[in-house]
Every structure is written in C-alpha cells, then in structure tokens.
C-alpha cells in the first residue's frame, strides 16, 4: 500500500471544499450548467440516463480494506447499495444525488480516495497490472512509477486542458495484464543489455471509434528520464492534437496521421530541449516514493500445506483453485482473483455488503490489501496457501468465488443503455444471457480461455475491439443490433478483432456466440489450442460461414 503524505491529503481536502462550494453555487443558480459542467466532470461527475454517475479513482488498482469499506459506505449511504468496477480501475456509482456529492467526496477523502481527473480532457487514472508487486518474474513494482506519474500529472496546469482525455497504463511483467497497447501511453518496465531498468514506451493505442494498437516510440527510456520523456510526448500532443474535431482529437489519430517516425522525431526534438531539466528523477525522489509503499511481512510458509492437500479432494474447491489462484513471487503465498461475474449478474458490480465482506477477508487473509483489475474482477494479492480453503468457503458464501476467471463467462461489459447516456444498445442483459448459456462449468472449462467483451456503443468502454469475441451494440431504425468481431486481444500480442459479418438483432446474439464457440470446438487442432489461436490459424472465414449459413 502507498501512504499519502500531507501534500496529498491537503490537496484532496481542498478539492472537496472547492467542489462543495461549486455545487452550492450550482444549486442556487449562481452557476449555470454550462459553467458547472467542466467543474463536475473534473470531479468525476457525469449526468447519465437516470441520475448523476460518480466515478471514483482507484490509482493503479490498489485499495486498502479501509478504503473498500468506505466505498461500501458510499454505496449504501449515497447510492443504491452497490458499485460498478470499470475497465480502468475505477468504481462508478450510478444513482448519486448532486446535492449529496460533496458529503460523499468528503467521506472518501478521509481515507485518501478522490475522483480527480476521472473525467475531462486531462490525464486520467494511472492504471497498472493488478498483480503489481506480487507477480513472479516482475522487473520491479510498477506502482512506484505509476505513483510518480500520478503525482506529476495531478492538476498539472499544462495538461489539464488537452485536446482530449489521456490514459496511461503500466506493467513490469512479460505477460501484459494492464492492456498497455490500447492506451494513449503504455509503459513496460524492462532491463536493457546493461542491466539498467527502464521503460519501453508505446504511444497512440486506443479503442473507441477508431481503434489502434499502440506503437513503440522508444524501446528504452531510463527511469530517471521517464517524466521528461512523457512530458515531451504530451507537449507534442498538446501542440498538434486536433482540437477542432472531437472524433480526431485523441493522440492515436495524431500518431496515425503524422506517422510514428515523424511523431517520434517531434518528441525527440522536444525531449532534447528538456531532458536534463527539473523533471529528471534523481534516486532520492524515486526512493522516497518507494519508501512510502509498504509490503507485508511475509512468513516462510510451505508451498503445499496440509490444508491444501486435504481440500484438493473437493472438486469444487479444486475447480476454483485451478481457475482463480495464481502463483505469488513469495513461496507459500498466492494471488487470488475474486470473480465479479456470477451467472446472471451484471459484470463488475459488487454490493456494499460484498465490499464490506471482502474488506474483512482482506484483513484476515491478505494483509488488508485488495486489487482491482481492468477485467472488472478483484484480487487479494497476499494469501497464504494454507488459507486458501477457508478463504474459498468465505468467498463462496458472498458470491465471488465463481470459478470462471478467464473463461467464457468472465465477460467484460460496459453499463450500456441501461445506464449510459452515450449508449445505443444494452450490454448487461447480453452478458447475463451469455453467462446463463455457458453456466455449466465443465462446458466452460472445455472451451478454455475465451474473453468476451461487450460495448453498448462505439466509445468502446467494454473494450469490444480486443475481446477474443467482441460485441458492439448499435442502433438500427430504433432497434438494438450487435456487430460481432473475433480475434481481438488485449495482452502483449494485442490485436483488433475482425468483423465476421452483418450485425445481428438483440435476440440472436447469444445464439451467434454459441455458434462461434461450437465452430471453435469443431475446428481446434488440439484440446489445448485456445480460441484465439484457432482464429489466428484459420482466420474468420470458417466462423463467418458457421454463423451466417442459416441466417
């Protein structure tokens, strides 16, 4: 966990006071909606279909149990008893009242949570691998650098009014769990030939209306130069980004139009002027941040304790363990993913009661720490393997032990037309129907790793472009239709999926997905050839034929 210092606490508290005053002036009529809108957006407050929506940042996906309890409190006291974890390591509350928002913000500020820069044309929440600091083989904890970027970019005057929103993601593992290739800037920590730690910097990734996979702009930037190099990118974007057309304003369009070589040269020229400036990170600054991250006092524990051997006889436990438990960098410990994808449930939602219970379990079994992943699941990052059976029983009781992590029912979905003012079609009911169709665990297990992503509009909050199966809701003559893509992926081999054919109506989506899955089962070369690999080997045509032969 990172401990905020006095500067952070003062900043957050001052922001609450400012926003309280702004809300008061809005409700009295002193501020018009036009004047107020940008102010509320800077505090994560959107107006959706039914109510205001309040988006709260969870920097690099790390939460303490105390913070999780406070989120539960906000859900219970100011909302309708639940929250929605998003693909950018935020949580959204869907029914918040503007008049009560300052109180909610004040309650969150007491535990170091805020909503700054969760909206608007600024740098957004800095996201990271949800297994940061505990994944085996990691170069180092990427959250140290994410925190540096958070401090650097928070209320940065030069970058508070960018042409469009700007998103960072960072990982320090070979396997990318942070989807860095579909972010405006993706950072991958690695070591160069000299053994020095630095960053591969990718730029121009993004989904939405015009999806692009990020391109490597510089293979190695030393850690000390991270901020100056990032600032050079932001300056070039700020200067040349399209402010005249919202649909062309993201950095991905600029990179595409200039070409990566020309863009890289612009950045290099800018960087050379400022490389050895105040932005150069000396070791003391980095070490100061590092020292504010605390890590558990791990014990020396056995890899295969008796509790685990005994529980291995229970097939339900084993199904969950194989699916939800990952290796930890410290022997005797494990990383446990909590599925927020129950059969028939809205993906990513957690009730206040669940949040409280998870906080208690984090205290009991995970040194009080919880992680949020972009797949809309949670994780307990420091669980003793001997505690796994007891933890599983407790998680099962509160409905977050569905053994479906990374399987066909572990669906990423945006709120869609049920909540969102931008959406053209519903996402959640499609996800719910799919989880019912594939509810049988043996079937899901037989299918293996398969990511379904659903977005209710072209803005792609459900990351449909990079789903192994992507589902995009569109509106045709007042009816909901869905375009289906296959072959997308969000990991280190990120790719945008290919459309398989004409959009299908709401009532046929689950049938189409079943057809695609059946085609895969018939076509795969071996039982362990993953869906995504079969699509890569064969292309979309066999799947297209299967889906449209009878439609």
């Amino acid at each position: 966990m990172y401990a905020y210092d006095e500067i952070d606490r003062t900043l957050i508290n001052e922001r609450v006071s400012e926003f309280r005053d702004q809300v008061k002036r809005r409700l009295s009529g002193e501020l018009t909606e036009d004047e107020f809108k940008s102010l509320r957006l800077m505090n994560g407050v959107y107006l959706q279909l039914h109510a205001y929506m309040f988006r709260v940042a969870i920097p690099y996906g790390t939460l303490s149990s105390e913070q999780m309890r406070r989120l539960a409190h906000v859900a219970r006291r100011y909302d309708r008893g639940y929250g929605h974890f998003t693909t950018r390591q935020n949580i959204q509350f869907n029914w918040i009242k503007l008049a009560e928002l300052p109180d909610a913000l004040a309650d969150l500020a007491e535990v170091g949570i805020h909503a700054m820069q969760t909206s608007g044309n600024c740098t957004r929440n800095i996201t990271a691998d949800q297994w940061a600091g505990v994944a085996p083989g990691e170069i180092e904890d990427p959250r140290i650098w994410a925190e540096l970027l958070r401090q650097y970019s928070t209320l940065h005057p030069e970058f508070s009014f960018l042409p469009r929103k700007f998103k960072f993601a960072i990982t320090a593992s070979e396997h990318d769990r942070a989807a860095i290739k579909v972010h405006d800037i993706g950072l991958r920590l690695h070591k160069n030939a000299e053994g020095e730690t630095g960053f591969e910097v990718l730029v121009g990734g993004g989904l939405g209306r015009t999806p692009f996979i990020g391109k490597t702009i510089k293979p190695f930037v030393p850690g000390r130069d991270l901020l100056s190099y990032v600032e050079a990118i932001l300056r070039v974007y700020n200067q040349y980004g399209r402010r005249d057309n919202i649909y062309k304003a993201r950095i991905k369009i600029l990179v595409h139009e200039l070409g990566i070589e020309k863009f890289a040269q612009e950045v290099e020229d800018e960087w050379l002027q400022m490389r050895d400036s105040a932005l150069t990170l000396d070791d003391t600054v980095v070490e100061d941040i590092r020292s504010r991250f605390t890590y558990p006092a791990y014990e020396k524990l056995p890899h295969m304790p008796d509790e685990l051997k005994k529980a291995a006889h229970d097939p339900h436990f084993e199904a969950w363990r194989k699916n939800s438990v990952a290796p930890h960098k410290v022997p005797g410990y494990a990383i446990v993913t909590l599925s927020l994808k129950p059969v028939g449930g809205p993906p990513g939602d957690a009730t206040a009661d669940q949040m409280d219970a998870i906080a208690d379990l984090a205290d009991k079994y995970s040194f009080g720490e919880i992680r949020v992943g972009h797949e809309q699941n949670l994780a307990l990052p420091h669980v003793a393997r001997s505690d796994l059976p007891a933890l599983w029983r407790a998680l099962d009781k509160i409905g977050v032990a569905t053994p479906n992590v990374n399987l066909v029912t572990d669906i990423i979905a945006c709120p869609g037309l049920d909540y969102c003012a931008l959406a053209n079609a519903r996402s959640i009911p499609i996800a719910q129907e799919l989880t019912r169709r594939f509810a049988n665990h043996d079937t899901a297990n037989l299918i293996g790793r398969l990511h379904i992503n659903i977005s209710g509009c072209i803005n792609a909050c459900g990351h449909h472009h990079v789903g192994h199966i992507g589902i995009l809701g569109v509106e045709k003559n007042g009816e909901e239709f869905y375009q289906i893509t296959i072959g997308g992926r969000a990991d280190e081999n990120a790719a945008v999926g290919t459309l398989i054919g004409p959009a299908v109506p709401y009532g046929e989506v689950a049938d189409v997905v079943e057809d695609i899955v059946e085609a895969y089962l018939a076509l795969r070369a071996r039982p362990d050839e993953l869906f995504i690999d079969t699509v890569k080997r064969l292309g979309v045509e066999p799947f297209r034929e299967r889906v449209y032969a009878t439609r």
């Binding site: 409700l27 107006l47 039914h50 503007l98 009730t351 049920d418 009911p429 719910q432």
Partner: protein, 104 residues
C-alpha cells in the same frame, strides 16, 4: 457546444421535453403548466416543430431546476396513455431492464 435551440428541430410524431432534475438527477418531464413532473403522464405533448421549439426554450430557461433538456418521442395509446417512444426513453422512464444487484 451547440445549444439544443440552435439545432434543427424535426419531430415525426407526438413528443415531450424531458431533462434531469438538477439536485438529484431524476428524470423529469416538462408540464403544460410550465413546471416539471417525474410522471410522464403529466408531460406536455407537442406535435409540431414550432411547438416543440417553444416548449424546449422555456425548459432550457429553467437552468436551475433542470439539466440537459431535449425533445423525446412518445406514443399516445388509444386510451390516451402516454408511453415512451423508444427504448432509451423507456429505460429512462421505467428504469433499467435488469434486476438491480440490491433490490430497491
């Protein structure tokens, strides 16, 4: 951003003006008595572009009470009952189409 009043208003059938209530965001409809109601059945119905523009103009003028006013289609049943004219408005009027994680 272009004001809704600067945009071309085209309606193809009975319509209402809807918005969200400023203090809590609840869905509201403009009434014939120049007020707001949370009940669609109390909404003022307009059938022509000029009428719609006038209703929208007075709605937008109430910047303190309401936010984001716009014209939305409705259907009038033979019984006189007013129903939302599309799925989006149906969801705004009647709520989400799924069970909430915590029953209201």
């Amino acid at each position: 951003m272009t004001s809704p009043l600067q945009q071309k208003i085209k309606i193809t059938g009975p319509s209402v003006v809807t918005a969200n209530r400023t203090w809590d965001g609840v869905v509201i409809y403009r009434t014939a008595s120049k007020g707001w109601s949370t009940d669609l059945s109390e909404a003022a119905i307009v059938r022509a572009a000029d009428e719609a523009r006038a209703l929208l103009a007075e709605s937008i003028a109430d910047d303190v009470g309401a936010v984001g006013a716009y014209i939305a289609p409705v259907e009038i049943r033979d019984t006189g009952e007013i129903e939302p004219g599309n799925l989006r408005e149906q969801i705004r009027s009647e709520g989400v189409t799924i069970d909430l994680p915590v029953p209201a």
